[in-house]
Amino acid sequence: MKFNGIEPEELGGGVILFKNAFTVDWGSTRDLFEEFVASERESMYTEGINPETGEPCYINRSGYIFRKDGVDMMPRRAANTHQDKRPEVIELLNFLESARDNCLLGYMTIHPLAYKNIWWKVKGHIVSYSTQKGGLFLGTHSDSSVDYLYGIDHPKEQLPTKNTLSVVMYVNDCVGIDQVGEDAFSGGEHVFDYLGITYSDVPFKLYCLTRSETSYWRNSLQLPWLVFTWVTKP
């Protein structure tokens, strides 16, 4: 694991890219990430049969039934990583958190006033998109929205409304479809629709800080990545 330095590149609209910001060992990182996302998916859903339709489905821990293809299309996430006490996990996550904090300082050299909106942070979680294992894309969204509609019950979870800055750390590379191997994927562009930014030219490990990302992923073969978020006061 190595932090390579900070060279911020302004993509527009507050989105800053730090190319080649860090290096991690892909093999061991992939194994850990796969273990985490698989374990979390397994703990969330049990495979079953929908009694009304007779079709295969997933049943979550509260007993709700979900369509199998709907769940399989969702990105796999792992948010429980920070409870793992294995030294190699702690070392990796501490390294990533530290790399992120370094880049945050770089971000503030471009947008200094951001520091006044940053009060606390949420530790990162893993998100995986894989054509074989589930998670093909994520639709356009804002990281600070809780899909509020006047008249409905106020969402119980309003943490996203406090988000100031989003961070994405990519741990493997986007390549042309004919070059896809165990350590790379094709598709998975990160699109900021309103800013006219489509990011896919990932030469190696990179690091990106954003305010309020919108993303659209397609045709991803295998893409584990991390999201870290800074937020304001509750």
Binding site: G12, G13, G14, F66, R67, G70, M74, I110, H111, L113, A114, K116, N117, W119, G139, T140, H141, S142, S144, S145, V146, D147, Y148, L149, Y150, G151, H154, Q158, T161, K162, T164, D193, Y194, R211, T214, T232, K233
Partner: protein
């Protein structure tokens, strides 16, 4: 009744959108009203202290802070409790501009829960406002402000009531200086009567108002915000009765319906999918 021009949004960058000539301002009547309110505000908020010979020494504000005789007039004046009928029209027009803003950035729709009622900000000669963002409450670790409702602000809106005449143009209520700059995106807005600006309330819309070098500058400000009520933090929106109220916080109870009406009227042959109501997180479920 105000004569309405079609709104013509222009994205200046970073989410800041300018609508030029968006509203016709009844300047003579309005500015005379605001001049009176401004003087009333100064009288209520500043006391002039005189020496033994009856010569004015300095002023003291309500908080006990001492200002020089010139300095107190260089502070921007916030005029609240607005009663002039034009402000209802102003709010309505900003709301129409907001619908167009949402069309440009549809994902923002469900981040707009309520609005803070408007007020007027007046800068006299020598006044300016330093670099700041509209959702900042001067937080420092260990010193959490009690009233932090400004952290909920999502979109800032402003309307210019008079024009900067630095370009050599002539108008009765013109002023010099007073540009608004948004440095992170190299934006410099020269105020023109009847223009509306909508911009992010966070650091991406951080801005400053340059010194007014001649005359007085008048603008109207309000914010659109999100988050559940928390009266202890100063967040306590209520349902509107349909009348104009200066100040306060008001639920945007018809915003979703109004946006959908607007967008379906604009695209009668089919609304592009990306402009329709976002339920992004709900896509995770069936």
């Amino acid at each position: 009744m105000n004569e309405k021009n079609p709104l013509q949004p222009r994205h200046l960058g970073g989410g800041t959108v300018l609508f030029e000539n968006a509203i016709t301002v009844p300047q003579g009547d309005l500015i005379s009203y605001l001049e009176q309110e401004k003087e009333k505000w100064r009288q209520e908020n500043f006391t002039i202290v005189y020496d033994d010979n009856g010569e004015p020494l300095h002023t003291i504000n309500k908080g006990g802070f001492i200002y020089g005789l010139d300095a107190y007039k260089r502070s921007p004046v916030r005029i609240q409790n607005l009663t002039h009928p034009f402000f209802k029209e102003c709010d309505d027009r900003v709301y129409e501009a907001l619908l167009e803003y949402i069309e440009m950035f549809p994902a923002i729709l469900q981040c707009l829960w309520w609005k803070s009622g408007g007020h007027v900000l007046c800068y006299d000669e020598g006044a300016s406002l330093g670099f700041h963002s509209d959702n900042d409450v001067n937080y420092r670790y260990g010193a959490i402000p009690q009233l932090d409702h400004a952290t909920r602000n999502v979109v800032s809106a402003l309307v210019y009531f008079n024009s900067c005449t630095d370009d050599g143009s002539q108008c009765e209520y013109g002023f010099s200086g007073g540009h608004m700059s948004i440095p992170y995106f190299d934006i410099d807005i020269v105020p023109h009567t009847g223009s509306i600006v909508l911009m992010p309330a966070n650091y991406l819309g951080a801005h400053e108002i340059h010194e007014i070098t001649k005359g007085s500058r008048y603008s109207y400000l309000l914010w659109f915000a999100q988050g559940t009520p928390a009266p202890e933090h100063g967040v306590n929106p209520i349902v509107s009765d349909g009348e104009y109220h200066s100040g306060g916080q008001w639920w945007l109870e018809t915003l979703i319906d109004d946006y959908e009406d607007y967008i379906y009227r604009k695209y009668p042959n089919g609304v592009p999918e990306k402009l329709t109501l976002f339920k992004s997180r709900a896509k995770d479920h069936i």
